[in-house]
């Protein structure tokens, strides 16, 4: 009897085999390819060039680009190509962490604000408003001014300056998802707040924050370089793009390569991050 009434139903759709169509993701591939190439070159820099990043050669200063020194040498006779290569891994790491920390902080606070509402939300969102009222770089410089220059200060400054947008995005998304029936269903099943927030709400609101992080990352790499250029971030003589540019600025008129060639590398990295970020964002949106 029951068998006639409850026919076994086959699922209508077989789970689609996900074929990644590479041609549609040119952006992500080109950008990602450049980044991976630069990162690999940076990690194996010791095998790629015979020089060290801090190795001085005072008999060979301010040499223009040549086969021995593709980017020329600086006023201490250091090989600029070697310095730029070594700097890449430091800069990309700082850049990644300075997106990661604000993402974690902002997402957590935004989720709490959106989920609980009321007084919690009011407090968090007023703090967000306060932080977003300052321009990004001005706020970062201000915080470093208080903490003193250095790499740790830079992490703290970029995190504090950057988290507020993530909090805003997540709160708005949580407000929507909180109303969804599957969250209501989770409540009806007697789940606790922590389980509902981390197990049921966050996974469904995280995509837009990653999309934003992908555009944020370009701003952050430029800020990292800028802060070090201003002497607020990484300190000399470490090989870092901002420092390389800073040291080169005095020789702009007599050694064009000292500024121009590292500058081009920074532009290419910025472009690659931008392409990669756009590609990832597009991919996430399609998947959603």
């Amino acid at each position: 009897m029951a068998d006639a009434v409850l026919p076994p139903v086959k699922p209508v759709l077989a789970p689609p085999r996900r074929r990644v169509r590479w041609r549609q993701h040119t952006n992500m591939l080109v950008g990602g390819g450049i980044l991976v190439a630069i990162l690999l070159a940076s990690i194996f820099a010791d095998h790629l060039t015979p020089y060290g990043p801090l190795e001085q050669n005072l008999r060979n200063t301010l040499q223009p680009p040549s086969w021995a020194h593709p980017f020329g040498t600086d006023n201490f006779g250091r090989d600029i190509f070697t310095r730029v290569l070594h700097a890449a891994k430091l800069d990309l790491m700082i850049c990644f962490l300075c997106v990661f920390f604000p993402w974690v902080l902002g997402t957590a606070l935004g989720a709490v604000a959106g989920y609980f509402g009321g007084l919690v939300e009011t407090i968090v969102m007023r703090i967000v408003d306060t932080f977003s009222a300052f321009p990004f770089l001005v706020m970062a410089i201000g915080i470093i001014a208080i903490l003193g220059p250095g790499i740790t200060s830079m992490y703290i400054a970029l995190t504090l300056a950057g988290w507020s947008m993530y909090a805003r995005i997540v709160r708005a998304e949580v407000l929507v998802v909180r109303q969804s029936e599957y969250v209501l269903a989770a409540r009806a099943l007697g789940y606790g707040h922590v389980r509902i927030m981390f197990g049921h709400i966050l996974p469904n609101v995280i995509t837009p924050t990653i999309i934003f992080a992908m555009t944020d990352i370009v701003l952050v790499i430029l800020s990292t370089v800028s802060l070090s250029f201003l002497g607020l971030g990484v300190q000399p003589p470490t090989a870092e793009w901002g420092i390389i540019l800073n040291e080169a600025k005095g020789f702009l008129l007599i050694a064009w390569w000292m500024v121009t060639l590292p500058g081009i590398v920074i532009v290419i990295v910025g472009l690659a991050l931008s392409l990669f970020g756009d590609g990832v964002a597009q991919w996430l949106r399609e998947r959603a």
Partner: protein, 349 residues
Amino acid sequence: MATVLGTAAGTVGTSAAPPILDVRSLTTTIPTARGTLTVVDDVSFAVAQGECFGLVGESGSGKSMTLRSILGLIPPPGRVASGEVRHAGRDLVRLSQRELNRIRGREIAMIVQDAVSALNPVYRIGRQIGEPMLEHRIVKGARSARARAVALMAKVGIPAPEKRVDDFPHQFSGGMCQRVVIATALACDPGLLLADEPTTALDVTIQDQILKLLVALQRDLGLSLLLVTHDMGVVAQTCQRVAVMYAGQIVELVRTDALFRQPRHPYTAGLLNCVPRLDGPAVRLKPIPGAPPDLAAPPSGCRFHPRCPLATEACRSQRPELVEVAPGHFSRCIRHHEMPPDLWKRLDA
């Protein structure tokens, strides 16, 4: 074969006048990541002058897509792949978007399911009803458009039209919004009204009012109506003839009373048999097993065979044609003559 459906010869009980809409072998496809979906598959039917014709089916049966294909409103990359839509001596499928624009709203108007979002929230009601008249230049000047808007509002049963003509859509309830949408559709005196689930979003007492309004308008204005719905009850109370759609195809086409008296396709019979009734004895329903097919991978042969109690090897391998099984009664089932009247009732024996 298919042309028999399209001409007045196939429309039982109507005059010999040519049909106002004659759809022949219409096929609409939508390319997707999972392959090309044939959402409307070789659909042929004709709507006679002054007739209310129903297209009934479940979600994904292609009934709304058929309606949209008629007016060239399939969103790209979907397109009408083949077939004809004949109206007033022209084939609408071959017209350009510009030529279609002269017909849309003017000769063939459409009303949609969600009336509340069909109205633009920033414009007053009177202006929205008057806009198609001005666009198609059937009135001169805003003042006469407004006067006609008030008259139309009275005609569709909106109380105090001269006061409400200057209201905004948010001041109207869902049922009143649907009346406004109907008034807008009637603005240019179209001969044919396409209605896509016009009452699905409404409460039952309001649905009843809107259906009665549509029937009255059809009778009083000599309108022809093509009504898309999923509700057999709505069909029974409004349509003279009906086509039942399943997985993009018409599986049965006949006069409404004959459809309910003696369905000649197992799907129609099953559908009628699994709807609970408000009268008669409360017997246990016999559901159709399974679910409608995925159009990306439709079943071979007859699209209904995986759910059909009559299915044979032939149903799995041959694609059935829509054939005339009685005068004016068409069925896409090769075993229609073997179909017992209590097909679905015998299932649990």
